[in-house]
Point group: C2
């Protein structure tokens, strides 16, 4: 009766079932079937109360994996609801690198609780992972890696492998290490399959394979995977000892999260922001960005305030001034977006900046002239004042040139200062184009029209 | 002498060498060493003339792979410079799916030329790939896939594998097909390694494995890889016949390109836009977006024009009006960005929209009240007019509420209309917040201050 026409497992389907019966056995059965990533996404799609009810229906043995799929804020909202026993059980079922990721966001007492509950081996591995900084390879890697010695035959390795029921996920190669644990190379599983059994591992392994240092940044290893088309790569410490591996699926998560971060940042949001978070913390976080914007817009208003005389005499100036500012903002953000991508791809360097600037200025002149003509004609029909049309046309061209220059120079300068242009580039740029737009339009009007 | 302190292989290093000697043998040697992805990125970092010179130094046998790494527009600029023989040779060294991707952007006569030059087998495979629409799995898949029958033993398969020198890249499993080519399941390479040789493939294969239809969209298969942590998946046609496979590295490219597209789109740019493209085509493409913006900003100007009387009497209105409009735009774009992410992740459904809207309204009330108070105080110090302070505070709160509502409803409506909210959401939203900002501030001023 309920849910006719609503897709199985969709947000509506779940919310309808929850509303009807919050202990729904149908729902419980569905949660066993759905992959952890989908359940996590469903939890993130619930308002707080329903999120709590849904969590209660999830079998304890699945909780760990589902927690790893959640965004930080949503995860925190759920962990808050869990008692100690539940939390320890969930931690117990998580991979070490996932657990490190989750622990970092928890308050100290919960972290200690979980650390104490772990067996010695897991605890040592976890502490190793936690000793690396967030955003490094050491945090991203899995420590679950199979290694063999170089001085055994393929047949021996194959026999050893057959004693395992399964291998760690995404094992495309075995690492080759010395007896001291030094990394020597790797041998692809497919090479093992193709090689004659009597050959030595040292003969079939590839020694000049890529490795990454545990201290390397996520960005470096992502670039490496991208350029070399890898599935997995060995992670070594300062002594060149094998300590783990990174697989392509970790990289996919990193790329996805990086892309999300860029989009969210540009609106002054945290990428971990929960769509259904409570009102007060949401308002607080977003309020900061509004405050920054308020400062910049008051700066623009102050510029306008310098031309009270002109505005008092010619009301048309107030009507048309947003046109000049807004066109500059749009043109500038196009150049800015291109420049930010170019910087991210390392395509902009000191030897080609001049050429780029010239090109953007030329684009500004062309588009400036075309749209200035259109704006001048519209303004003339509207206010019937040829002087006003000339002034707005000149101001528009001038602002588009300023937009081109700042679209290139703002991100370059921010990068040199070590500030991410994706975060604050747009705010600074539109402040520049607003101020120059108002200044040039109202300034020219004061000079020529009063 | 040249290039002291400039990193080997960087844009500056290459440009310096090119300027000194455009037939530089040092550069030629470096280009043999660098991975294709890096060479492609270097080409994209060159102004047209230097790009041409650099391309001339690239050995013909590498050209095909480098072409596949370029963005469309940069690739077109290079292919334009190639003669027929060069183009055919490059096409010859490309994978079928990459070739399909490149061909689609070429003019008809070049496409025909390349098609005619291919041997029958490659041509048939290419035509198969081209028969699927752009953005579908059929276009993304590789047709280079190994399949075995279910009624042979593991030992037979292992013997057959050992007759190969290498396997296709990223082969983590063999597909299992019936004698008619029907897909039956797959057997992981690691399973082959762990199984006893006398077992049948039908016993060790996994039959309930994921498959995708060649007609499925890139988005669907990307979501599948993400949710199930896959390395490769079989692609079947309508008759459930195996026709290829998709590997995780194709998905990584799709995710990366999708993320880039979102960022570029939001500035009205094409994701394939070349940083160093010629001025005229650049200006043309970007001019369209400026034109759309001009229409929206004239709409806002028209609204302002309705209040000439108020503006003529109180100049402070012209000074302060951008504050109300801008704060609405910022608050609205925060809600919009969250809503677009929520829609992309399928987290927003009819059953939770109301809750979301209420939450965003509450955030709007809170932040509206706080910042309205700040703005009112600043305005009072500036213009010493308590009525003006009250009017701007009320207008600001009102506009933040309008921003919350449109931040949710604009993307929902666009999605229902089949329009991508990431492209036009921001333009529509800021038009709404500009108009409501000016209307409420100038309207309230007309009612209470004149």
């Amino acid at each position: 009766m309920v849910n006719s026409g609503v897709e199985f497992g969709s947000v509506d389907w779940v919310l309808n079932h929850l509303t009807e019966d919050k202990h729904s056995s149908v729902l419980k059965a569905a949660l066993m079937e759905l992959p952890a990533a989908d359940v996590a996404n469903l939890l993130e799609s619930m308002p707080p109360e329903q999120r709590h009810d849904l969590w209660e229906l999830i079998p304890p043995e699945h909780e760990g994996e589902i927690l790893t799929w959640l965004h930080d804020e949503a995860r925190a909202s759920i962990i808050n609801d869990m008692d100690e026993k539940e939390l320890v059980a969930a931690a117990d079922s998580m991979e070490v690198s996932d657990l490190a990721f989750v622990l970092e966001e928890l308050p100290r007492d919960q972290t200690d609780l979980i650390l104490e509950s772990l067996d010695m081996d897991r605890r040592l591995r976890l502490e190793k992972v936690l000793s690396y900084e967030d955003g490094t390879v050491g945090r991203l890697m899995t420590t679950d890696v199979m290694a063999v010695r170089p001085d055994v035959t393929v047949a021996v390795v194959l026999r050893w492998l057959r004693r395992h029921e399964t291998l760690p996920p995404h094992t495309d190669a075995l690492m080759v290490t010395s007896s001291e644990g030094g990394f020597m190379g790797k041998v692809a599983m497919n090479t093992l399959l193709l090689s004659s059994p009597e050959r030595m591992i040292s003969e079939v392994m590839s020694g000049d394979t890529e490795v990454v240092m545990a201290q390397a940044s996520e960005q470096e290893v992502t670039a490496l995977f991208n350029r070399r088309d890898l599935i997995s790569v060995a992670v070594v410490d300062e002594q060149h000892h094998l300590i783990g591996r990174i697989t392509l699926d970790d990289i996919v998560d990193a790329i996805r999260s990086d892309a999300e971060e860029k989009v969210m940042k540009s609106a002054g949001l945290d990428q971990e922001e929960d769509l259904f978070s409570p009102v007060i913390p949401s308002a607080k976080r977003r309020g900061v960005w509004l405050g920054i914007n308020l400062i910049t817009v008051f700066a623009a208003a102050w510029v306008i305030g310098q031309f009270e005389e002109a505005l008092g005499q010619i009301v048309a100036l107030a009507v048309l001034m947003p046109v000049v500012a807004s066109m500059g903002g749009i043109a500038g953000s196009q150049t800015l977006t291109l420049a930010i991508r170019g910087l991210a791809l390392n395509q902009i360097a000191s030897s080609n900046t001049r050429w780029l600037l010239m090109k953007e200025l030329a684009v500004g002149v062309l588009n400036g002239t075309v749209w200035a003509a259109v704006v001048a004609v519209v303004a003339w029909f509207w206010f019937n004042d040829i002087g006003l049309s000339a002034v707005i046309a000149a101001a528009l061209i001038f602002n588009l040139l300023a937009a081109a220059v700042s679209g290139i120079l703002v991100p370059l300068t921010l990068k040199k200062l070590g500030i991410d242009p994706a975060l604050s580039g747009a705010v600074i740029l539109t402040t520049v184009t607003d101020i120059i737009g108002f200044l040039s339009f109202l300034g020219l009007a004061t000079l020529f029209l009063l």
